[in-house]
Amino acid sequence: MNQSPERRAVAGGSSQNGNLQTRLSLEKRAFLWALFAASVSLGGALLMASPIQKIASWPFFTGGSSSGIVASPQLLAQGAGFFAQSCADCHGDDAHGDEGPDLHNLAISDGRIASQIKNGTKDEMPSFAKKYGDPQIAALVAYVRSLR
């Protein structure tokens, strides 16, 4: 009986054809299960993105955003003005990132955002401590926090 080299290598001879068939059948079934598991995992993760978007914006998960900043429309407008003046060059006019990162949905506390604005990061972002006082930085934080 003629066998391909591969079949001979796998089965070791014609007497083991049954084993070979079982093995190929097992591999095919395993492939289908693998395809199913990969699709469910990937699809599930992507489907969960939308509910997670809602859940993650609950105060429990955002740390409450409770820095005492009341995000009034005036404060947000003031923050937007400071942003256009000092931040848009690097972070983009829409704050979706350019040279600097996207500032939407930041997963850091208000205090950390304020500290970043005040102190900057060496070789990456300048410090704005001399340009802006605490009230202006609070407005910027409120504006950045409002970016969803």
Binding site: L26, A30, A37, G97
Partner: protein, 143 residues
Amino acid sequence: MSIDPTLWPKLHGASTHFPVALAMAAALFEGLGALWPKSSPRKAQLHAAGYFTILLGALGTFPAVLSGLFMTKGRALGHDAELFHHLFVWPAFALLVGLGVWRALVGEKASPRGFAIYLTVLLITAGLMAGAGYWGGELILNS
């Protein structure tokens, strides 16, 4: 009452390195196992190591993906480095889960052709995981 908002980045950082490292280790073990002489007992040991590392790697993707989704507040793609990170992550995630399931079910009974396909896909997956890790690092360093 609320949780620390930096919890998700911390959890993602803590969980994400396992699947990256395990996928690459599995590719290494299985690749070496394929090259090792058949007569040596080391061949079976390398395949056994590859078997367990791919299973652990596949399991490890779930906490990494979940914490990542919470960290980005459900953003599945994003922009710039985050977009590149996700373009590597999603196919790598699906492939790693699929490879883990296939390897778990087939075990030592893989045909040479089946194993060659598995190894090729595993090497691609390890490359994708490395790319995801690289862009994840870029995200951390540039934000």
